[in-house]
Structures are given as C-alpha cells and as structure tokens.
C-alpha cells in the first residue's frame, strides 16, 4: 500500500507525531534479537507475502515493530489497538507513514473503538493476530460472511484463549485458531515476568508510594498473579494471595505467601491487585471490606475484574490527586485509591511489558502467523507447534551467549524404552 493510501484509509490522532513514533520503534528494534533473527528469517520465505494480516494488539511501539516486520515480509497489514487506553498515537503515526493502515486513537470511547475494529474487519483479513479475541469475537458476531476467507487467528492472551474455547464449545469456531498465549515462550515469560515487573513499576510510578513492608494482596495466582506476587516480594512487600483453585492456593502457600479468602485478607491490605483474568475478582460486596487508604489496581485483561460501579456508587466524593489516581472518599470516611479506572495498570498506567519480553511473545506471534499462512489447518483451536516454541527459546539463549548440553541418550532411554530385567 502506498503511504497516501494508508493515510486516507486510516483513523489516527496526528500524523505529525511520526518522528517520535519512529524513535520509539527504533529503540524496540534494537532490543528485539529474536524478532530480528528468527522471525525475520522465517518470514522471508514469502509465506505471508500478499496476505491480508490484521494485528489487533495494544498498539504501542512493540506491537508496531511486529506489524512492520510482517509488512516488510510483504503482508498487507492493518493494525488497531485492543484497548483504546493503551494506544500510542505517535507510534500509530509512524506506522501510517510507513504504509500500514491503522485504526486507533488513544482515549477513544467504546463507540469509536468498536468502529475501528469493524473497519479492520471490513478489510477481510486472512490472518488475525488478536488480543483478548476482540476482533475475532466481533467478526463472528457481526461479519460471519468474512469467516470463509479467514485462514486463522493467533491469540495473544489467556482471556482471549478462554473466549476462543467457549466459541469452540458453542460450535462457532469454524476457522483455525492458534493459542499463542499457551506457547511456553509466551505465557511463562510475558504473563509472569513481564506483567510482574511492569505492574509493580506502574503502581509505584502512579502513586509515588512504596511497597517496603506493605501488605500487598494479589487476587488470582495464575501466571500473572505469580509474577506480581514475586516482584512485589522482591520490592519488600508482605504478600498474600487470594485464589479459588485449591491447587494454586497450595502452591502460593508453598512459595511462602499468606493465603486467605477475600473477607479475611482485604481488611488488612494496603495494596490490592486483581489478576484473575475473569470478572468480579473484587465484587461489589468487597467494597465494605477495603481498608482505609487502600490502593486498588487491576492487571487482568478485563476492566470488570473490579466492580468499579459499586466502588464509585459507595463514594461520597472523588478527586484525582495524581494523574491516573482516582481517590474515592466513601460515606463512612474511608478513602480508596483506584488506579487508571481499573484498566490494565501496567499498560494504561505505564509503558507496557519490557521489550525483551515482547520480543519473545511477538516472535511466537510472528511464527504463528507464518504457520497459519503456510499450513491449511483444520477449524478449531490448535496449540503453537512445540518445535517452533523451542526455536524461539533457542534463539533467545543464543543471543545471550548461553549454550546447552545435548540431551543425554541414556536419559532418553529411561524415559522412552522399557528394558526387561534391568534396574534403571
């Protein structure tokens, strides 16, 4: 697509921001060794060339770099954000100036956001790199006519994979989808270390507060919750985990965290972070339990992890003492500070995941898109191929100068062959 075409079809805030966006993307490129080596090399075989690829992921510099690599490999890329709060307008401008069609403006309302996603759907994408299944869900609901041309979807998040699974159970997944989130090189690093580091950073930056000695409660002990708990502890917090799954709760206990129910734990919590990936992790009835001065944040995909409506209804007054901090004074005199309106705190209140983490995640996405382009998969949910997962890890290790031993042949024997009459 020519730059003029891209500009005329796009909806962005301000093209004049493109220089700043270019700088941001250049910094990402410098710190993305796996995308630069493995992904670029695989994409160079022409499999995605000429394909219409939609990238609907938090649209900031790292996502932009993925979009550019796909475009560089010949794909017709259309990009939009998966949440209007996380869109970086400068990066959008830089993408358009390089010929990528973009539909995203920071701070758009839900109507405009829907319009942007439907505009992406209108391009009839063959491959969708999705986040939270935001585009896929809309295409299934509103544009079933386009599903015949969809070679496949590659999904970035835990929440999105759950939505695809629900779609599958309902018999609505009539196209192939790859659970990119479930790749080892994605969720083990992105969900845990990436979210852990940046959530703690965002809470501290938004509040100018500290975690030393603080009682921090993490609601949900999946990979995200594990990361948040680990990093909060690393910065000196006393961490308690709330979890409904007994096995995960036991894991949290063995890690040395306090474990308890919401009603036991909330009255003592100075900082509460929800990370369940569902909704109503902090339901309306929890408002009465929150301690005076508590800081409340969400890092799950959906803003509805916290019942913000109930919280605001309980407030006699509110103000914004710092950007992104909504201080609610409840009728009984307690003050609760809600961060970035319960949006993903590390993205809406920070710069998103570290670049090195998204290098892994987006290498998975690039190879996943490539796999969809080069294979005719059956409809339904597919895992990310294990050998591609290993290739991503191996490339990252190589860039770190880390060498591995070959798997010992005796080990293979023990695992895979039964030898009669011998002790192993």
């Amino acid at each position: 697509m020519t730059v003029d075409d891209a500009a005329s079809r796009s909806r962005i805030a301000d093209i004049s921001l493109a220089d700043t966006g270019d700088e941001r993307i250049a910094w990402v490129a410098r710190h993305s060794p796996v995308l630069n080596a493995l992904a670029r090399e695989r994409l160079a075989d022409g499999a995605v060339s000429g394909r219409r690829v939609a990238v609907v992921v938090h649209l900031e510099a790292k996502t932009a770099y993925l979009a550019l690599l796909l475009a560089e490999a010949g794909a017709h890329v259309v990009a939009a954000g998966s949440n209007p709060r996380s869109t970086n307008d400068a990066v959008c401008a830089a993408l358009v100036r390089r010929g990528v069609e973009v539909h995203a403006v920071n701070g758009s309302g839900s109507g405009e956001f829907d319009g942007d996603l439907m505009a992406v759907a209108d391009t009839a994408p063959e491959i969708v790199v999705d986040d939270g299944a935001e585009l896929t869900t809309r295409m299934v609901r509103h544009r079933p006519d386009l599903l015949g041309g969809l070679r496949g979807v590659s999904e970035e998040t835990t929440t999105g994979v759950a939505r695809l699974r629900a779609m599958d159970s309902a018999g609505r997944l009539v196209f192939p989808a790859i659970a990119a989130n479930d790749a080892a090189c994605k969720h083990l690093f992105d969900n845990r270390y990436g979210t852990g580091q940046t959530t703690v950073q965002a809470v501290l930056a938004l509040t100018n507060s500290t975690l030393w000695g603080a009682a921090v409660t993490v609601v949900g002990y999946g990979w995200v919750g594990r990361g948040v708990a680990q990093y909060a502890r690393g910065l000196g917090a006393r961490v308690t985990v709330v979890e409904v799954d007994p096995v995960k709760a036991l894991e949290a206990h063995m890690e040395g965290y306090g474990v308890g129910s919401l009603s036991e734990v909330l009255p003592g919590s100075q900082v509460v972070v929800t990370a369940t990936g569902g909704v109503d992790a902090l339901p309306a009835e929890s408002v009465a339990l929150l301690r005076d001065g508590a800081i409340v944040a969400n890092v799950g995909h959906d803003d509805r992890e916290i019942d913000v409506g109930a919280l605001r209804d309980a407030a006699a007054s509110a103000d914004e003492p710092r950007p992104g901090v909504e201080r609610l004074r409840l009728a009984d005199g307690r003050t609760i500070s809600l961060l970035v309106g319960a949006g993903l705190v590390n993205i809406a209140g920070g710069d998103g995941h570290p670049i090195e983490i998204m290098d892994l995640s987006f290498a998975v996405q690039a190879l996943s898109a490539h796999h969809l382009a080069s294979h005719d998969l059956e409809p339904g949910l597919h895992p990310f191929p294990e050998k591609l997962d290993c290739a991503v890890a191996r490339t990252k290790l190589e860039t770190l100068g880390i060498r591995l031993d070959e798997a010992a042949s005796t080990g293979d024997t023990i695992r895979s062959e039964w030898v009669e009459g011998e002790d192993t």
């Binding site: 710190h31 030393w212 910065l235 103000d319």
Partner: protein
Amino acid sequence: MSEILDPSLAPHGEQKIAWAADRAPVMAAMQDRLERNGDVAGRRIAVVLPIEPKTALLARILADAGAEVSVTSPPSMVHDDVAAALAGSGVEVLARRNMSPDDEQRYHGMLLDRRPEVIVDDRADLITLAHTTRTEALDDLIGATEQTTSGIEVLTRLDAEGALRVPVIAGNDARCKHLFDNRYGSGQSVITAILDRTNLLMAGATVVVVGYGWVGRGVARVAAGMGARVTVTEIDPVVALEAHHDGFDVATVLDACGTADFVITCSGAHGALVPAAIDRCPDGVVLANAAGIDDEFSVSDLAGRASTRRRVRPEIDEFVMEDGRSVFVVGGGHCVNLSAGEGHPVEIMDLSFAVQGLAAAHLARHGTEMTPGLHPLPASIDEQIARDKLASLDITIDGRGREREIR
C-alpha cells in the same frame, strides 16, 4: 513576598500535597507535637530543598506551627504548582522551575536577608554562604540541619578546620534518615526510574552496582528483587565481604563491567566508574548514577570520545564509541531517581523530613545551649520518629525494661 511562576496553579499543587499528606503519618505526628510545644513558634526558618509535594508538607507544617518560613530549591527540582500552593498558604517561596543560576544565587541571598534563626539545608549551600560572603547572617543564626551525604562531607571538612560558627545537626546521619531514605528509598526509586525510562527487562540481566554503601545496598537488593544477577564492586574490603555474604558476586569494576547489561554507580566517589571500565562494557550497556554527586562517571569524557551522541528516548542518550559499541546513559549522569524519576516515595520522605523538622525544632529550642560544630540528631528524637511510624502501622514492640526483666 513570594516569587513563583503562576499563583493560579495552586489548586493542582494542593492536590499533590494532600496526596503526600495522606501517606505521611510521621509528619502528622510531628505537626501535633510542634503545635503543642511551640518550639518553632515565631522562629524564622530558611529551607533549601527540592520544591515538590513532600518538602512542601514540611514547610507548611513548620509555618502552621508558627514559624516564619522562606524556601528555595535547586532550579531543576521545582514543581511550579506545588510552589504556588505553598505560596498561597503563608510560606514565602522563591523558586521557579529551571530558574537561572543568577536567580538561584539571588534567592539564596534573599533567604539570608530574612536573617533566619534556623536553616534546613541541602548540600550545605546556604550554610556555606553564611560562613563565607554573608557572615553577618551568622549573628541571628542559631543553627542548621543538613539533609544529604554530600552536604555532610562539606560540613565535616569545615568542622575539622574549626570553621563552623553554629551548631549543625547531621540530619542525614540520623538512623531514621539514612537507613531508610538512602537504602530503601534510593533502591526502589533508582531501579524503577531506570526501568520506567528504558522499558527494558531486569530478569536475568547482569547489573553491576558500583559501591556498596547504603545506596548501593538498596539498589543491589531491588535489582535482585527484579530478577537481576547482581555484581558488586567495592574498594573497602569489609564492605566487599558483606556484599559477598549478602549473596552477591563481588569483582573489580573492570572485570564486572565486561558482562554488564546495566551499571549503576552508588559510591559517592568522583570518577568511580573509570573510562577504562566503560570501555569494557558490552554493546548496548545502560549506565546510570544513583549517587548525590554528578561525576561518578564522566559524561563529558564519554561525549568527547564518542563518534556520535544522540537522544534516543526521553532522558536516554546514546553514545556510539569509536569501536562501534553503543553506551546508553539514563538521566544525563545526574542522580537518576531525581533527574529521570520522581524521587523517593512519600513514605520514605515522611521519615526523612520528620528528621529535618524535628532537628530544626530542636535547634530552635536548644540551639543556643549547643556548641558550634557538627552534632548528631539526639537519639531520643530519632527513636521517637521510629515509634511514630510503628504506631501508624499498628506495630507494637517490647520495651527496654522488659529486656532487663528477662535477663
């Protein structure tokens, strides 16, 4: 009469101060105490500190307790909205963000024109001025208290020469200051400033911490908490041995830099990170300074030897060296948590400024009975600050009497 940028910014500044006040129980206890005992009532107090919400709270508490307070700030560290809020509440504020060095000098002079009885100083600037070109200010001056390690160094030298004419409390050396501010405050805010500005990952990265004093300890610990592999470099063998027992690798700065992803200087020593060490760093290394002094490594030397220098992100400069390696510097080589971040967390400054406020009150009440020279903060005040903080956390501890009973 205040000289500030714009009085209409006051409402926003008020909100920032209120946020800090909400998280500052120790200063609240101090306010109660000062309003009851009248120690600072009617006293003229000059304050030189960065003008941001936490220092504003200190100045306002002193003013509310009846002191006549005048404040100024280093030029790069003024929040104009906070200055406006403060000026609107009975404190004389002489500061604008990025004011000229001439204005800064003039404001220092004006603070001394007010004939302060107590000085709350930062890097000993005002104390030094009163002892050199403005000695008439000493006539009314009862004493001073100093906030920083580097200011204490200046004052220790003056004291050794017998040049100090008034009692000065080494606020920095109070346990409730350096054990928390220098360690936990710097540790957190230095690491978060670097990560916030770079958007990079610390898990698995090699972080070299140059100097293992209180700042270095905090930085090493938070870096480890962020998943880094930490190597400490030290010149004091005892301190190096401590770093080893804390579980960190210990090496010479030249060896450590060979594999560094991040190098953070915390030594308080000029030129601690020598050019030869920077030349050992791998391509893409990120350098930052966490100490109060600006030349732990020389940015001008780096610039002189680099073939290209350019700004790649806000607060990050890239230096491309002759051999093609890139070296990135965060925050211009200045103290990174202030130059590229928001400084220490509120809860930490609550302790530090309680030290300063109560040191000022102690001087106002007892300064005339004290000998000229450097003094520690009385232990009873230090302990009271810790007790107030513990009480705010609902933590009770055993009394010393009980220890004796058990023995």
